[in-house]
């Protein structure tokens, strides 16, 4: 009886340690293959079939049901251009221009990785924003306070995440994912 309990205890400890080591491995080993472009990061392997088991586990945890790169490329960031975490208590200016893709959009998420509830029901900006731009450039502001022009409410979320989706990316994006010009994220002020 005592021996059975000891073996069961060993198995339970091993299960907890095994699960914890998976989380660590996915966090660190799963970062392989990621490409940086300014504040943005992407993994061109997302959605592909030839991933190793750690990358596959990472994709299952953070990008389930993602399309392969010929269909869509995804960039995400949790920092501004200076590398500081994006905070809802700060105001940011996002400056950009058109990107070589059939369609692109940038969505804003809160600490829980879901869209941020706000009275304006504004969650993203996309290529249509260029319709009002005279020189093909745009500016969007992230702030918890109402702003003139293009504004995404942050509602004082502790951590913000931005997700850039490019549908049917062009050759410039496919061939140069680390150098193609992406929106810049500039911190203006914090409260």
């Amino acid at each position: 009886m005592k021996k059975t309990l000891i073996v069961a205890g060993c198995a339970a400890i091993a299960l907890i340690m095994g699960a914890a080591s998976v989380l660590l491995a996915v966090r660190y080993a799963g970062q392989r293959g990621w490409i940086a472009n300014g504040a943005w990061r992407t993994n061109p392997s997302i959605g592909m079939e030839n991933l190793d088991m750690y990358s596959k586990a990472t994709v299952a945890l953070i990008s389930l049901m993602s399309l392969n790169r010929s269909e869509a490329i995804y960039y995400y960031t949790e920092t501004d251009d200076s590398g500081e975490p994006l905070r809802g208590s700060c105001d940011y200016r996002i400056e950009g221009e058109d990107i070589d893709a059939r369609w692109w959009s940038v969505s804003l998420y809160g600490s829980d990785q879901y869209l941020i509830k706000n009275s304006k029901n504004r969650f993203s900006f996309n290529r249509s924003i260029l319709r009002g731009a005279t020189d093909g450039r745009y500016t969007v502001r992230l702030s918890s306070h109402p702003e003139e022009g293009n504004w995404l409410p942050t509602e004082n979320e502790e951590q913000l995440y931005l997700f850039l989706r490019l549908y049917n990316p062009g050759s410039d994006v496919l061939n140069n994912p680390s150098t193609v010009r992406l929106p810049r994220i500039i911190k203006e002020a914090c409260r």
Partner: protein, 176 residues
């Protein structure tokens, strides 16, 4: 002392074993959970298309939902026979993506790859023991079960009613 070292070695060996098993099976476990949620949340059986509402801050089935897309989908099961998946193609970016139980995106069709404004795919099992229909739109699924996702881009909010009409005409039929 010897006994303590013995148990420590057992713990280390089991930890390594659990580590490999969890990493290997994690994607499949997550997909099983997704299939379960599709069936319970939308109250639909396998091989039946469900339609999501327009994404907003209350959409919490999958992290980081895209607010610019209309989502529909189905949990497929082709173990007993082929499944026909079809949809009219809307005048916007649109795709059907097929995911195996290990999360692999094994096939995609989009609005640019479809001629005639109507998409049709006959999904069959890679290990099918049933006769495969003669059809040029056959797609072989590497796993008997999985998930199909329809994405329709809302490129202009004014066109939302039109796009929803297209979205809701997607369907799946068991051919057995």
């Amino acid at each position: 002392m010897k006994r303590k070292i013995f148990y420590l070695l057992i713990i280390l060996c089991l930890t390594a074993l659990f580590h490999i098993l969890i990493v290997y099976f994690l994607p499949t476990l997550i997909m099983h959970y997704v299939v379960y949620r599709i069936q319970s949340d939308f109250n639909v059986p396998v091989n039946t298309v469900y339609h999501n509402e327009v994404v907003n801050a209350d959409t919490r089935k999958v992290v980081r939902p895209c607010p610019d897309l209309l989502y529909s989908g189905l949990a497929y099961d082709v173990s007993r026979g082929p499944v026909r998946i079809s949809s009219p193609v809307p005048p916007s970016y649109w795709s059907i993506s097929f995911f195996a139980m290990n999360t692999d995106n094994f096939h995609v069709v989009n609005d640019r790859s479809i001629r005639g404004g109507f998409a049709e795919v006959i999904l069959v099992d890679s290990g099918a023991s049933y006769p495969i229909p003669e059809n040029r739109n056959i797609v072989v699924a590497p796993s008997s079960r999985g998930v199909v996702l329809f994405r329709t881009l809302i490129d202009d909010p004014a066109r939302l009613p039109l796009l929803i009409d297209f979205q809701k005409r997607a369907k799946a039929e068991e051919l057995f």
